[in-house]
């Protein structure tokens, strides 16, 4: 169990049966008054957020969360299927649970599946992925403004802003946390 003094940004708690992460945390206390722990909490299953103030007498259950390396196999309907390469166990996530990560998921990519009490609820991608540019406007000669960018389409169907010199068929490295282009990769 956690007590109020364990509360901090990033801590994961179980409240009313759901896992929550503390996204904002503030300790407030009038000199002679009670300690108030002001938090903003995000439900890790449905993304709902709310604010809640706790007191020093409150106790909390930790959320039973763990991550497991799995491989993305295929998408069927609105379900994404992942497999543990050691046990061959398969799990499914919905489009909602996969969310923006779909922009960077290629077949067979290895991801961390987030499990809450052994139920899959989300995933985290590797920080960097390499994707092939499938559609790009050709580079206009003379377009030498440094820092100029253009949108291109990559193999997952997502759109990425890249420097103007990147052309169709090239492989680029992307930071999945920011969605930003990093560099071209020689294949």
């Amino acid at each position: 169990m956690y007590t109020a003094s364990d509360l901090r940004k990033g801590l994961r708690l179980k409240i009313d049966g759901d896992p929550y992460v503390i996204t904002e945390f503030n300790f407030v206390k009038p000199g002679k008054g009670q300690a108030l722990y002001r938090t903003k909490l995000k439900n890790m299953i449905n993304g709902n957020q709310f604010e809640r103030t706790f007191r020093s007498v409150d106790v909390f259950e930790p959320a039973d969360l763990r991550e497991k390396k799995m491989q993305f196999l295929y998408k069927e309907g609105d379900k994404f299927c992942f497999m543990d390469n050691e046990t061959y166990e398969q799990v499914y996530l919905t489009e909602e649970q996969v969310d923006d990560a779909v922009n960077y998921m290629t077949d067979n990519i290895e991801v961390e599946i987030l499990l809450f009490e052994d139920r899959p609820i989300g995933l985290s991608l590797p920080n960097f992925v390499e994707l092939v540019v499938t559609e790009a406007e050709p580079w206009a000669k003379g377009d030498t403004v440094s820092g100029a960018t253009k949108p291109v389409k990559v193999q997952t169907g997502a759109t990425v802003l890249v420097p103007t010199f990147v052309s169709e068929g090239e492989k680029i490295r992307i930071d999945t946390r920011t969605g930003e282009y990093l560099t071209r990769v020689k294949s």
Binding site: A4, S5, N26, F27, V28, K29, P30, G31, K32, G33, Q34, A35, L36, T53, S56, V57
Partner: protein, 312 residues
């Protein structure tokens, strides 16, 4: 030099200005009290029984506790005939950590025999005006987007008025619903002392463990707090000298602590023995770290000490 040591040296080197400012400010405080005929005293930080207050947690130290304030020993000195005393010391409060809180912090506390809380408010203003002068050009103190004018007179506002001015519900209702601290911190404090320092005064009688109560409808504790830039800076009051009443309040606080499962404290009997001999007086505590924050324009208390607990 290891990478880690290098980082540490850099971190501390960047604090040179603020640590210098801190030292100057503390010297100025001592000078003020020396000029006003006060005796600087030094009481033990380890105590067998801290003041029994409902919401202040003392850290155990062996069989005893680290002081949460020097109040009880200082009042024993007052009772023994030391009429003007001050102290700058470390105090310890368990689990208090935030942008304005360190579990080990520096407190300035002083007592004046013959004063009541109103005269002490005025002396508190005089002290802060004097020691902050070098950091407030044109008497304007810049802190957190506020320009606070330190020239007198400073504002005063009763707690009841502050609630009717700023809170979504009146003081009595907040007390009944046990939401006083919630409402105070969320709705009232952010308005206090933005353009000029504010003394909040006349507290609900139930919120003052060691202050004198003035009868009336409702009775109020002769207690004040000073706010500058929305930050609580000082807490003072006319001292309760009735030992029976004091024992009853301590017993209440200990009973409420027991209900909540907080650690038990022994009754500070030697303090209660001395209390009847204490003259009418007033005392106040000022958060020195927070005063340095104001002088240095620091947003977080960590910025004004060389080492926060996480640096140790």
């Amino acid at each position: 030099m290891t990478e880690r040591h290098h980082h540490e040296a850099f971190r501390l080197a960047r604090k040179a200005d603020v640590l210098g400012l801190r030292a100057n400010l503390i010297s100025a405080i001592r000078r003020f009290f020396d000029d006003h005929g006060f005796l600087e005293i030094d009481t033990p930080v380890r105590l067998p029984s801290p003041a029994p207050e409902e919401h202040i947690e003392a850290l155990p130290s062996g069989e005893w506790f680290l002081q949460t304030s020097p109040e009880l020993c200082m009042k024993r000195l007052l009772a023994a005939g030391y009429p003007h005393i001050y102290q700058i010391c470390k105090c310890f409060r368990k689990d208090e950590r935030g942008a304005l809180h360190l579990p080990e912090f520096t407190l300035l506390e002083w007592y004046v025999a013959g004063f009541d809380y109103l005269r002490l408010m005025d002396q508190c203003r005089h002290l802060i005006e004097t020691v902050m002068a070098p950091f407030a050009p044109g008497r304007k103190l810049a802190w957190r987007q506020n320009a606070v004018d330190l020239s007198p007179p400073w504002k005063t506002m009763t707690v009841a008025d502050a609630f009717s001015n700023y809170a979504p519900l009146p003081l009595q209702e907040a007390l009944q619903k046990e939401l006083f601290d919630d409402i105070l911190t969320e709705f009232v404090e952010p308005h206090l002392g933005l353009d000029r320092p504010v003394f909040l005064f006349d507290y609900p009688s139930e919120l003052s463990a060691l202050a004198r109560i003035r009868p009336g409808r409702p009775p109020v504790a002769e207690r004040f707090e000073l706010y500058i830039g929305g930050m609580e800076l000082a807490n003072g009051f006319s001292e309760l000298t009735d030992a029976h009443e004091q024992r009853r309040r301590f017993e209440d606080a200990l009973a409420r602590r027991a209900e909540k499962g907080f650690s038990p404290y022994a009754m500070p009997e030697k303090f209660l023995d001395a209390l009847p001999a204490m003259p009418d007086s007033a005392g106040v505590a000022v958060g020195v770290d927070r005063l340095v924050m104001l002088a240095a324009g620091a947003d977080r208390i960590d910025e004004v000490v060389a080492f926060a607990p996480e640096d140790l």
